[in-house]
Amino acid sequence: MIIQMRNSRVAPCLFVIATVAVVSVLAMKAIGNKTIQPEYRSDLQSATVRYSKDTDEVPDFQRHVAPLLGRLGCNARACHGSFQGQGGFQLSLFGYDFDHDYASLLEDATGRIDVESPDDSLIIAKPTDADMHEGGLRYELGSWEHRLLKRWIESGANPNGEQKLERLELIPDSLELTSPDTPVQLQAIAHWSDGTAEDVTPLTRFESNNPQIADVTETGVITTNNTPGDTHVVAYYDSAVEPVPVLHPYNPATSVARSKAPAPTEIDKLVVAKLDRLNIRQSELSDDATFLRRVTLDITGTLPSPKAVKEFLSDESNDKRARKIDELLDTPAYAAWWTTFFCDLTGNNETQLKNAGYGPAKLSQQWYDWIYERVENNTPYDELAAGIILGRSREEGESYVEFCNRMKDSYHNDAAFGADDSMPYYWMRREFQDVDARTISFAHAFMGIRIQCAQCHKHPFDQWTQNDFQEFSRFFSGVSITRARNVAREDRMQLMKIMKDLGIQKDTPNGQLIRELTKHLKNDKTVPFPELKTHPPKPLKKQGEKLSRKDRKKTFTQGTLLGDETVDISEYADARQPVMDWLRSPENPYFAKALVNRVWAKYFGVGIVEPADDLNQANPPSNAPLLDHLTQSFIESGYDFKQLHREIVNSRTYQLSWETNDSNIADARNFSHALPRRLPAEVIYDAIAQSASNDTDNDAFLTSINGRAIAIPGTESRRRGKQARNAKNGKKQDPTFALSVFGKSERKTSCDCERSSDPTLIQTVYLKNDRDMHQVLRRKDGWIADVNNSYSDAPLNPQQKKRLIAAERRLAKLQKNKRQFTRNGDEDGVNRTTRGINTLKQRIEPFQARKNAPRKPNRKSPLSAEEIVSQAYIRTLSRYPDESELERCVEHLESGDDQFELTGDLLWALVNTKEFIVNH
């Protein structure tokens, strides 16, 4: 057994070999109490056995030598896998670059391989001598590892044969343990393209995805301890990454009548089937109030209004949940919130749009609106994606001037831009000057995979190699931005005419030029626009680098779809087209699945594949049949986005309570109960404003998205113009700070983790004491002001006092004017002032009565303290208070005589509860 020091900083290459166990493959007994004997291939001998004695077999570099070096840790990052190498010797990180590694071993005059005297080869002499090798003793002289390497060297140290790995078979291919005491040996069989099979168990690396549940030894023996649950053990050999599911059920005694578990929908059946195997019972169905709050927040990013809560709770029909779901899916808030979701995915970010047109804020808004229109109309997802993936600036046959004219029109008319079926800004982002960034972003956004590892080395958890990355990136090197000043040759005459018509001097400096053109554009003049142009794919210039002369002339004629076939790109006018076609084919393993999994993760707080943007072979779904079913049903529905929501949210599984039972309290990945999730940044910001607003405004949150944080298009949150005037939190507030505190996605790197739902200290400080919080909670036109005014004898709050004094002054002035008009006999004036005086008197009378009211009101209000508490609960926690809560809150309301402040305390306390800040 090999133990590796964890702390790589202290001892980068310190390894200790304890023992190298030669495990007999057939040492296995029964698996658990199911007494299933794995059907091992006893006809194959593993390398351990074959090389434990002298043999005539000639090892192969790719099959044996390279994987052995990998398993011994030679190509680890802290060792020779480091990009700088170690002691002058460098191997490809995580292997798989066979040509490079072979060349590195055979490098002249290094003595790494000495065919004449194999044992003097450094790859034998050093790792078998702890004193000589900084990386310590890796294997011992006389061991099978030694014999294998030595055989390879003495037989000429030849490079790879011609074979290709077809698949890696694992025996057993899944494991269900009812008695955890028996270790289970895995056997790994490589099937090669020439039809041969080989036991490669000792040349395979094994890792457990959760060693708490199932650990695996170096030699592939799975052991479990007393933690029930399920996970995967993953085998790595050559480019293959093969997971073996291991399931360790919870205590059978806690399982009651499994088959009786209700499973009304297909989703529930598949979830319960898995839970049955784990002996987990699902929680009860959530109550109506919990359901309503959860589903409204999830579908629309909005709190249910007090009116909605009351109506839903008093509705006694059976289908009220399904009807509510349909109703929510038809609100503008749904469209806005899921547009935000797509803007996160595609990276709608103003700072990336500086070169894409006039005014990044405008472009970002157009980007948002374009998606909004499609989410609202429930455009099929594949169409929406195609509009972005195949985004282009010009319509077919359109001249440059016509294009500039159309862009000018859409600058002044937002609807015009949305009508185009193509949205080019995704590809016009500044970072996309770098073609690698395009590939990384594309794989993340539309395929849910993290290909960036393969930019520099083989992907550690997936099959992708650097070559795969490069080949895939070819499809994305056929578009470029043409700057307004620098149009294509054939358009130059048109550009010059536009500039001449505008009277712009040729040598105007860039900054000034943009300012002048923007001014002309605002005056509805045609100005030159930058555009996204397609061209034959070719090497592109990178930031701070120059293209070599050779690269400048090169074009790519071929690209390879990830894990799939090579395509002749030259047949296509747009190199992105074959990728779109591939994504749309029903067998595509990523496109629909990635979206379905992401949407599921939004509703459950955890994906079926988790993290939701990390589909890779070593990270299999927790419930593959469930993910397959959802994906299939999404494709069959014609990529119907609303139907996807409807199917998920109508399941009993989505509607479960967060309250756990004895069997599911430890489960967090099999959907046996609801998991509390912190509200997303925009939703928190809006929810606070909504809680504090008056009843009329509160009711409009679902239908009027103007001024809401979920309607902010890009990453620049400061609102201007119309948005600011309608801002729900008050006109002067800038949500930038709050949104960044609560982790709105910055849309800078390709990772779903950019949107953070972690709790932090600064968030709590914000909720307790930020000036914006205080301002919103006691807004003049908010709920607290309404409550306070409902007391006919309530003392005035300071703002009301101020307003009253001003009004009384105005009244005095009017009365003075009236006297003047009377003296002058100006009848019109007298009439006018009298009308004014009467209106004003009427308005201020109730306030004057309260000016000198006692500090302690006499509760002449229609609202009792109990009613105020109920209202506060419904507008924040979307439920009625229980008795003890009611009692505590009433006690607080009656503890002093400044109702305005005391009601403010109550609202403050409720929005500061955990219950408010999480969806549950």
């Binding site: 990384i440 590892c453 550690p460 910055e746 004491n769 607080h892």
Partner: protein
């Protein structure tokens, strides 16, 4: 036991451990820090216990400030003359007379060189010590310090005055600075967002609110201990209450509590007052302060902008800062690092009369002082026209590594990002030994 390392050194098992903590992985490390205030991860022998980082976004001209070339031709030399400082052999611009009297306290680094001539890229590079990379967002210096340095119970660890260009990057919002959003004005009360009790709420009312909250907030009692999110929210609630009600935190931001004589070390301008605040914050126990002082993008009218506005503020602020830290005995334990994102073209352009200078990353200056830094010296040298380093020059990464070193932070230390990719604090830097005492 399986032991092989994965995506650069992390075993799959380590990854899963992070995963098992769920979304609160980072958070919980934050909580540990809160629980024991001395859980910092720095070398105890480090000279600096706190630091002040001063960003000069826009890119200040090197040839007009700390790297003058009086012998160069007129189209390079510019309008300013050098003056002597209190260190023999070191000369700086005539419009920095106060700093000239403090030159023994700081080191000038000349001939720092890189290739990113756009503001956002240059700032990302210089203010994090890492060349920008589209798939990672690097944290600013203060965020790394907030993660590594021991925290105080009732004080923020990292404060940005009034805000900063560099965020917490992949470390996450937990290590973002407390942003003051404003700078103090002489003789006026200074309200800090989040810290100063806002909205007219009084301290006793705040206590009574918190009591009401504590009584109501028990809905999830049955599942709380199984949820990192819920238990995290609870602990942050307590810590936030401690900070907001802390007299020490409130007073740390109140520059009026300094003596008149001390306040007079600083100018009345905004930057000087920010420097005064930074001094006071460090004195109170805040570990890292970032100051931002912009306006250096002098494409036009370079000389008048520098002479009339920018240099007098920089001079008064920095001179006050160095003198103030020294007077409080804090200079030895506070590392100071001052830099823009690039220098400016040695050749004067004709976009305006009397001319300006454009972006120029090939040659720039930086200043360092305090904790562990040997003041009164010039390190590095630029060529005759200040067009590039005369010899090998320094990389921004080298200065960043040195800055971290003064704080006892190993710049080669690696963090695992949320996707399990190990990222070192500074990818490619070497400590500049000559800068150190």
């Amino acid at each position: 036991m399986s032991a092989h390392k994965q995506c650069d050194g992390m075993t799959r098992r380590d990854l899963i451990k992070v995963g098992m903590l769920g979304s609160a992985g980072l958070t919980m490390s934050g909580l540990d820090r809160l629980a024991s205030a001395d859980n910092g991860n720095v070398s105890p022998s480090a000279a600096a216990k706190s630091a002040i980082f001063i960003e000069l976004p826009g890119g200040p001209s090197h040839i007009d400030t700390f790297d003058l070339k009086p012998d160069a031709a007129a189209e390079f030399r510019g309008a300013f003359n050098p003056i002597k400082t209190n260190v023999a052999g070191i000369e700086i611009c005539e419009h920095l007379p106060k700093l000239a009297k403090q030159a023994d306290k700081f080191a000038i680094i000349r001939g720092v060189s890189h290739t990113l001539g756009a503001h956002p890229l240059g700032q990302e590079f210089i203010f994090t010590g890492n060349r920008p990379n589209p798939s990672v967002k690097y944290p600013g210096f203060g965020s790394v310090a907030a993660k590594e340095l021991p925290a105080e119970v009732d004080l923020p660890t990292y404060v940005a005055v009034p805000r900063t260009q560099s965020g917490a990057g992949h470390l996450g919002v937990n290590y973002a600075p407390l942003i003051t959003n404003d700078v103090p004005r002489k003789g006026k009360p200074f309200n800090v967002r989040g810290i100063t009790l806002a909205g007219g709420v009084q301290l006793d009312q705040f206590h009574s609110r918190q009591k009401l909250l504590n009584d109501l907030d028990d809905r999830f009692a049955s599942i709380q201990e199984n949820s990192d999110l819920l238990s995290g929210l609870d602990q942050f609630s307590q810590k936030a209450f401690d900070i907001i009600t802390s007299k020490r935190a409130r007073e740390a931001f109140d520059v009026n509590r300094e003596s008149k004589a001390f306040q007079n070390l600083f100018g009345d301008d905004k930057f000087s007052q920010s420097c005064l605040l930074a001094t006071r914050l460090v004195d109170s126990g805040v570990k890292f302060v970032t100051l931002t002082f912009g306006g250096w993008d002098t494409h036009q009218e370079n000389f008048s902008k520098l002479k009339d506005n920018l240099l007098p503020q920089l001079d008064a602020g920095l001179a006050g800062l160095f003198a103030g830290l020294a007077q409080k005995g804090l200079l030895e334990s506070t590392a100071v690092y001052v830099t823009g994102e690039f220098g400016r073209t040695p050749k004067i352009n004709d976009k305006s009369n009397p001319g300006g200078r454009d972006h120029y990353p090939r040659c720039m200056f930086m200043l360092m002082a305090g904790g562990g830094i040997k003041g009164g010296q010039v390190i590095g040298e630029s060529d005759d026209k200040a067009g590039g380093p005369r010899h090998e020059g320094f990389k921004p990464e080298d200065v960043a590594a040195t800055f971290y070193h003064t704080l006892g932070i190993d710049h080669r230390k690696e963090y695992d990002t949320s996707i399990g990719r190990p990222i070192s604090i500074v990818r490619d830097g070497n400590i500049i030994r000559d800068l150190l005492i």
